[in-house]
């Protein structure tokens, strides 16, 4: 921050100063002091090191997918964060990019275009489509624009799913999609996906390279006239127009930039996958990308990347049955540390919960033996503790739905009461959370992770709408 030098050109003095008054956390202030290029360098070094450390295929694919999501999030940040336009059709552009790669590099039409040419074509196609989809923004704004972009998404899905019979012409392969895509060819050298059973880590470097190029390009755009104009547009469209900014073109440009990044990412994504199917481009994917951007902080590129990494790693970890339990309990513990004041009360609440659990377990065991299970002697200590603590009925039946709804009610209740009552309410809430996890959630991780993502989205919005690193809006009345 440039405290002594006064506001930079193009910034209102009062607006610039208001940032100083905001109390930021010690760690965030420390992070602020690290310059942007150093942060990027750190990120690149960390990602580049992973394929060197491990040649585990799964981990490398996760790294690749994380980079894909980072790209998607910084692309969405252009439209939503900088342009202030709610684009719910974003995933359609990602899909268009993927289909572009699939059509140009497979046996679908017998085309095998060079991969870098395909990436260029995707960018152009994406940008043009972005311009087209951005056109309604001239007449519509806010919710109306959101709904029109959602229609565009529906049109895309409809076309992709039924595109195998367009006037007797097979474009997209319909529900079955397009399979057997060519691997990415790097100047004549094909990056075969599995090389002797080991994942080809060059994909990670390829994605990383593209990520850096896009990240830097967008950073430069944001610090140019266009970027400043976008922010003006976001804050107050009418005022921006009065200042002589071509608001209509700025909106189109934001859409085009976002769409181009999404399409490029789509092509890259398709190059690693065996095929492209309409199902991939689901609404779930859209909301996941939104959650990443929101958590990281709308308007901040670093935030978008951070959000993408945190959310994607969180989602992947929840899928792994060995790790998911840890992730769940540690997340709850972190949430407690953030919420409960004074902090030492966390220990009190936890101790009370453990005691409460043993009492409930003893009562439940005394009433009916089938309500509890006991792990065998060869189970590890954590499992033995959980089985002696959490009530796990052999046949939960209706108890599942009741416990689940009860947990939601208790969590919501905890947010409304204060002081001692909150601590008291936390004890059964935590126990019920453990019950719900052990009996319902851990059995179905693929669904659970999205339930948690939805809950996360709402709580981030309510607690901290600006996300971790978001730009705080200054309300001038």
């Amino acid at each position: 921050m440039s405290e002594a030098q006064g506001p930079r050109i193009g910034e209102d003095e009062w607006v610039a100063r208001s940032g100083e008054n905001i109390e930021r956390h010690r760690l965030l202030r420390l992070a602020d002091r690290v310059p942007g290029w150093a942060r990027l360098l750190l990120f690149v070094a960390a990602v580049a090191a992973i394929p060197l450390i491990t040649d585990d295929g799964y981990i490398n694919v996760v790294v690749f997918d994380t980079l894909i999501f980072c790209l998607l999030a910084i692309g969405l940040n252009v439209v939503v964060g900088w342009g202030g336009l709610l684009d719910l059709g974003y995933i359609a552009f990602f899909g268009v990019g993927a289909y572009t790669y699939a059509i140009l590099s497979s046996e679908q039409f017998g085309l095998h275009v060079s991969s870098f040419a395909v990436l260029a074509i995707s960018v152009v196609v994406g940008a043009l489509l972005g311009l087209l989809v951005g056109l309604p923004s001239w007449r519509l704004s806010g919710d109306y624009l959101a709904i029109v972009t959602l229609f565009v998404y529906q049109i895309f899905i409809s076309l992709a799913t039924n595109g195998n019979d367009l006037f007797g012409f097979d474009l997209t392969g319909g529900v079955n999609g397009i399979a057997n895509l060519d691997p990415f060819d790097l100047f004549g050298r094909e990056l075969v996906v599995a090389k002797q059973g080991i994942f080809n880590s060059n994909y990670v470097y390829l994605a990383l390279g593209i990520f850096v190029v896009v990240f830097v390009a967008l950073y430069l755009v944001n610090h140019s006239r266009i970027g400043r104009a976008w922010r003006a547009l976001r804050e107050d469209e009418l005022a921006a127009e009065l200042m002589g900014m071509p608001t209509d073109w700025l909106k189109l440009l934001a859409f085009a930039f976002g769409a181009a990044v999404a399409a490029l990412t789509g092509s890259l994504f398709a190059s690693l996958k065996v095929g492209v199917f309409p199902e991939t481009f689901s609404l779930t994917l859209l909301i996941t990308v939104y959650a990443m951007l929101i958590l990281g902080g709308v308007g901040s590129q670093t935030g978008a990347v951070l959000g993408a990494v945190v959310v994607y790693v969180f989602l992947e970890a929840l899928r792994d049955p060995d790790v998911s339990g840890w992730v769940f309990y540690v997340t709850i513990l972190l949430a407690l540390l953030l919420v409960v004041r004074p902090r030492w009360m966390v220990a009190g609440v936890l101790a009370a919960t453990v005691a409460f659990g043993f009492v409930v377990h003893a009562i439940a065991g005394a009433i009916d033996e089938t309500w509890t299970t006991s792990a065998g002697p060869d189970a590890d200590s954590v499992t033995r503790f959980l089985d002696a603590w959490v009530v796990i009925p052999a046949t939960p039946g209706d108890a599942r739905a009741i416990a689940y709804i009860g947990l939601i009610a208790l969590v919501l209740f905890c947010t409304t009461v204060k002081g001692v009552w909150r601590w008291l309410a936390l004890v059964p809430t935590l126990y019920l959370a453990a019950f719900v996890w052990e009996n319902i959630m851990s059995a179905d991780p693929d669904v659970t992770r999205f339930v948690l993502l939805g809950a996360l989205l709402v709580s981030v919005m309510v607690i901290r709408p600006s996300g971790i690193l978001g730009e705080r809006r200054v309300e001038i009345v």
Binding site: Y144, L166, F450, V451, L453
Partner: protein, 315 residues
């Protein structure tokens, strides 16, 4: 011209349209007051259908109900309406109220989160598999027997029930909004929230009431819709989207507009599925493409909808 097919299409349109109108009313009531696009409304509708399923199971299921199946249907509808009204109020209290003064995008994203949470929660508890009310077997298939016969053309009981129930609910809503004190407060709030607050209207109460009405209508619509089709956790999305569009087409914030928009959208969908795709020569699966393209064009030409007033921006 095949008149039977045409009549059938019109009846389909009316059935579809009346369900859309019920959901659309929920969007329009909330939007009118809070200026909030409640993305979670479609999932409230889905929860309504599942509550109906729960009541049906409670009374022994479709094949062997412990009381008359028609009584069960009434109980299902009432339970769904109550449950969804409560759900609506809870969502408002915890996901939207803290964001009332936040930028417009914040409650929208919160609504997306609620929508996500609801549909995946239902999937977690009840699984992703399709369920049905088994309405084909109710009372020996009575629902699908013709209620009205005109020449060779018939309307089944199911369609009569759906249309009549929707009309009754809409009349009740019209009465509430235009003839009661609370309704007057709602109308005042939708015109100017701040001014209404200054006149001594309890805004929180009005908003809560709006969510009660919206939820109750969505719950009833959920049961009526599931009678004709089946239940899956994602069933709320498409009808929700269509209904929201219906509300926009009719003029968002306008209650007669939502009803009109619902019927109109039902007609467009039914006509497109039956006729238009055939004329253009594309598969029926692509009917959505035609419908959504038409909707985009409509919104561009007349964003304020049929009965809405254009938004005049004052600085």
């Amino acid at each position: 011209m095949d008149y039977d097919k045409l009549f059938q299409t019109i009846v389909n349109a009316a059935t579809l349209g009346s369900t859309y109108a019920l959901i659309a009313l929920g969007y329009t009531i909330v939007y009118g007051i809070l200026k909030l696009l409640n993305f979670a409304h479609g999932d409230v509708f889905m929860v309504g259908a599942y509550v109906g399923f729960g009541i049906l199971t409670l009374f022994g299921g479709a094949l062997d109900p412990s009381i008359s199946i028609w009584l069960v249907l009434i109980l299902m509808t009432i339970a769904a309406m109550v449950a969804c009204a409560v759900l609506g109020v809870v969502i408002e209290r915890f996901a939207y109220r803290p964001l009332r003064s936040a930028p417009r995008i914040a409650p929208l994203i919160s609504a997306l989160g609620v929508s996500f949470f609801l549909s995946y929660s239902v999937q977690l508890l009840f699984g992703a598999q399709q369920r049905t009310y088994d309405s084909f077997n109710w009372d020996g298939g009575k629902l699908f027997e013709p209620a009205i016969t005109i020449g060779s053309f018939t309307i089944s009981w199911l369609r009569v029930i759906t249309i009549v129930a929707s009309i009754v609910l809409m009349l009740a809503l019209w009465y509430l909004v235009s003839r009661t004190r609370t309704g007057k407060a709602m109308r005042a709030t939708s015109i100017d929230l701040d001014a209404a607050a200054m006149m001594g209207i309890d805004i929180d109460k009005v908003i809560r009431f709006a969510f009660v009405l919206a939820g109750a209508l969505a719950g009833a619509a959920g049961v009526l819709f599931a009678l004709r089709t089946y239940l899956v956790p994602s069933m709320g999305f498409t009808p929700g989207l269509f209904a929201f569009t219906a509300a926009v087409i009719g003029g968002i914030g306008s209650i007669p507009g939502a009803m009109l928009g619902g019927i109109l959208l039902g007609t467009v969908e039914a006509l497109t599925v039956t006729y238009v795709t055939e004329w253009i020569g594309i598969p029926v699966g692509l009917s959505n493409l035609v419908i959504f393209s038409l909707l985009i064009v409509f919104l561009l030409i007349r964003p304020q909808g049929i009965l809405g007033r254009p938004d005049i921006k004052k600085v």
